[in-house]
Amino acid sequence: MDFREKMEQEYREILINYLKNQSEQSLYQGQLFSRHTLEQKISPEEIVSLHKSLLLELYPEVPESVLHSFDILLEVMMGYGVAYREHQSLRNKQMELRTEMEIAANVQQTLLGTSIPDVEGLDIGALSVPAKHMNGDYFHFVVDENNCINVAIADVIGKGIPAALCMSMIKYAMDSLPENRNAPNLVLESLNRVVEQNVDPSMFITMFYGMYNPENHTIYYSSAGHEPGFFFQKETEEFSELEARGLLLGIDKKTKYLQFEKEVLPGDMIILMSDGVTECRTEEGFLEKEELIGYIRKYIHLSAQEIVNNIYKDLERLQHFQLRDDFTLIIIRRNV
């Protein structure tokens, strides 16, 4: 018996039962029946037609007018049938897109991959999580020839695929910087020229670039409009903003950047982030700086990576597990 015959028979039984007793049980059978027909991709107009022919078979004396009325129902259902088939095909397409996106996200991860350096005297933790599949945030560590630890954190204004594509370009621009890195402000100036030339004029990038010199325990840094980081001073147990000003990358190719420096004493911490951390929306509005500091204090006894991971978990929960923006947090602590 092929599916159509089975379907007819099943529908006939359900119909007969219901006409006899109008029970909830038969209605439930009807609901189950639709699961089978949907599974077999039967269109609604076919059900209408089946209903009409069964009615005639069961009640040969059914008035003509009742039978004719099904012609209208069938015609109306045609439109739904077409929409149903379009839905199926769009569903398949969406599945393909999803798979493609997942592959693209993996490719991006490989492309942008950076490892957190293991440096004596420093405790470093970093985490970057995309809101959707693709990440528009980026961080990058390089230990250069002078043993300086270079750290970059960047955020494309915009989200999703365009932002991610843009970030891949930045990564290549960074890779082609000379081995012995220039000062942070010069790095930003050279990246700014790349972005200005190659990226869509509507796309801007913020970046913080820092260079930690383990000889004199000083961090030299510059910022291109990036979310300001924090500095934690162990001696006073106080947090302060890492002050740095600068125009976003990609606005004006002649932009000059200022360089700042800060001495890092044992136990001090540098905290860098993307705006996905501070613009984490909660029921009460944006996350206040004070609140973020509160989270850092809560975990301050842990290692840098554990602090970062725990803060991410807390903020994720705070946003009911729906990130609205890419999240990146980096903590660098000078060991005591």
């Binding site: 439109g79 077409v82 929409a83 379009e86 095909s89």
Partner: protein
């Protein structure tokens, strides 16, 4: 051949005439009610497109036979502006109505075979066939 009858599409009421012609031929060939409705829906969509976008044209219905099979062929032809990007209009979800009508992808699904020939300036010819199973 000689199995062809045509309806000119000049105004909205001609869409109904084209449907009627299609239904009569489908009945004669022995199509069931569901397939009749699919064929007339396809004709409606094609005729409506002619009326809306080309202003005028015609719909011809032809009985065709291939070996032991019988079928119905719809030929929609106009000398209107033509379609620039056929691939795009054949994409699901593209129609201007946002999927309220079957649109051209819908016509393709309702019928067994579908062929479109159109270029800007030289009008549009669409041929769609349904075989009797």
């Amino acid at each position: 051949m000689g199995n062809q009858s045509c309806v000119k599409i000049l105004n909205e009421w001609d869409i109904v005439a084209a449907r009627q012609l299609g239904r009569n031929v489908a009945k004669e060939l022995g199509f069931g009610t569901v397939d009749q409705a699919r064929i007339t829906t396809a004709i409606s969509e094609l005729a409506r497109n002619i009326y809306l976008y080309a202003g005028q044209g015609q719909i011809c219905i032809e009985k065709i036979y291939d070996g032991g099979k019988a079928g119905l062929k719809i030929i929609a032809a106009d000398n209107g502006p033509g379609i620039n990007d056929i691939r795009q209009v054949m994409e699901d979800g593209f129609s201007t109505s946002g999927g309220l009508g079957a649109g051209l992808p819908g016509v393709k699904r309702l019928m067994d075979e579908f062929d479109i020939d159109s270029s800007p300036g030289s009008g549009t010819d669409i041929i769609a066939t349904k075989w009797l199973r």
